[in-house]
Amino acid sequence: MEPVQLLGPDGTLRADPRWPLEVTPELCRDFFRRMSLARRFDDEALALQRQGELGLWLQSLGQEAAQVGSITALRADDHVFPSYREHAAALCRGITSAELLVQWRGNAHSGWDPAEYRFHIYTLVLAAQLPHATGYAMGVQRDGADEIVTVYFGDGSTSQGEANESFNWAAAAEVPLLFFCQNNHWAISTPTQTQMRAPLHQRALGFGLDAHLVDGNDVLAVHAVTSAVAEQIRAGGGPALIEAVTYRMAGHSTSDDPGRYRNSSELDDWSTRDPIARLEALMVDRGYIDDAFRDEVAGECAALAEETRRVCRELPIADIAGLFTSVLAEETPLLAEERRQYEALVASYVD
């Protein structure tokens, strides 16, 4: 199966009758803006980690098209279960930079209210969110709602039993669920060919899921395919999987040293398929972009960067009491006693 591609690396547009998309100036500018903001935010977070303001950061660099193109194809009330690298998707849902950073600064385990954004907290245990999304979709199904559920995950996660149980379960139960895999070719140092012999979209078909392969660095293709598939699911067509082929341009995380396991030529090669440059080329060609717009977006990026730096140093941190009170609905006697003992000990220092 060839990946669906509407926008070539050089920025030339090839319409595909199977995946209709009205490529308006507004749409292109919207994608350009969202991807630019996401990249700038990612840059800034990286810098903050390097300055010691964040404990860890996992970059979305290079995966902006896969995330922006897909999440914008969903309805605002379609619940989303991300993995941990979906910063671009999160920003599209209105999650703030402060909410995105707090977990990585170590102030909290998660930063936002899933109900407010219809966007679940990040899941770090690989593939654990797939059964959650499947169950949530079972709920949607039982409610007779016309929402769909989307779950994001990476290529490496697909080797986990829980991922495959979910492919099977979702197909058997015919729940309104979209599996969205960002195949960025790497799981830390492990290349996709070590994870699997056959491509994921082929496996998905084997489970009885509708499956599609798309160029994950082509925001237009990702959007067109996700829009069509989402509506098909909403219409009762059953669960589907989209494999978006992209590339992890940075290390796995700020703790990683990709130089140990992959050579730069691969990186150079993928640089030529950059999702933003590609869209910009089209926009230049079509006259959808001018200096005024560039300045406008640059201004927004600068503002976001400034805000990101500012909020990072002021990120809220809860009182330690919260540790004891958020274990169960009610603090147990044992926890209350532990808290009192600890507070007494701390108090004793001052004397």
């Binding site: 385990h109 907290i121 979910s166 379960w169 009170t325 006697p333 044992l334």
Partner: protein, 323 residues
Amino acid sequence: MPVLTLSHAINTGLRQAMEDDPKVVVMGQDVGRLGGVFRVTDGLQKDFGADRVIDTPLAEASIVGTAIGLALRGYRPVCEIQFDGFVYPAFSQIVAQLAKLRARSGGRLAVPVVVRIPVGGGIGAVEHHSESNEAYFAHTAGLRVVCCSGPQDAHWMVRQALAGDDPVIFYEPKRRYWSKAEVSDEPDLPLDRARVVRPGRDVTLLTYGGMVATCLQAAEAATEDGRDIEVVDLRTLSPLDMDTIARSVDKTGRCVVAHEAPTFAGLGAEVGAAVTERCFYRLEAPVLRVGGFNTPYPPAKFEDRYLPDLDRVLDAVDRSFAW
């Protein structure tokens, strides 16, 4: 007050919970058409439909994982794990997701999922069908772990578990599924309290689940030696009801804890350590533990010797007095 078997008492408890709250759904392997291998969910699918009593694919990790998703959507799932030895594939979903989601979300998310597990031995089963794994979940912060011992508690505890907002590991002693007793129209204890099932003066015998009946028999037998044993059914294994436990030990000065699980790092260790901290000066002897041997659960022909019986319980009581 109807007389029910423990199995049927849970069945009526689930039925009532489903009638009271349309968000309660039952799910698991063979819980629908068949009514579960122990018939605990018998008839529920017929009356509530296949959307609320769900025969699932054969995948424990996903049974718990999808239950979490359903709970996030506002449902109150009660999952059946067919046998104790088959909960392990769901371990990651239980300890890393179910138990932690409230804390991980800074208290924003509640995940009211009840995981029902037929537990323990005594039914002559093959391997993996007689395990007592409560210590794993008791050591996991974020879960409530409870174990019923008779019909009254079975009925009310499952309803209380489903009414609360915490994830609950709900143990059902399978060798007592067919034991009968009256079930009252009102709960007589909250979910987080232990119960003194036999008052006594001389020694406190702490136990739960399938061992409660055994310990009551031991207590009766001990009267012949003029010993008055107080038997406490822990009911809630995490958190423990230390007030009720300590009150008893402060009274008797001696304590034996008995369970089916291996003693090493078992729940009895926690009880023993905690009781010693609370009642140190009052203890005439160390808290003694009686449990399954520290081996994998044996073949059926050995289980009568593996499981603590009246003799082994009384032997521990004797050793406590001999100390």
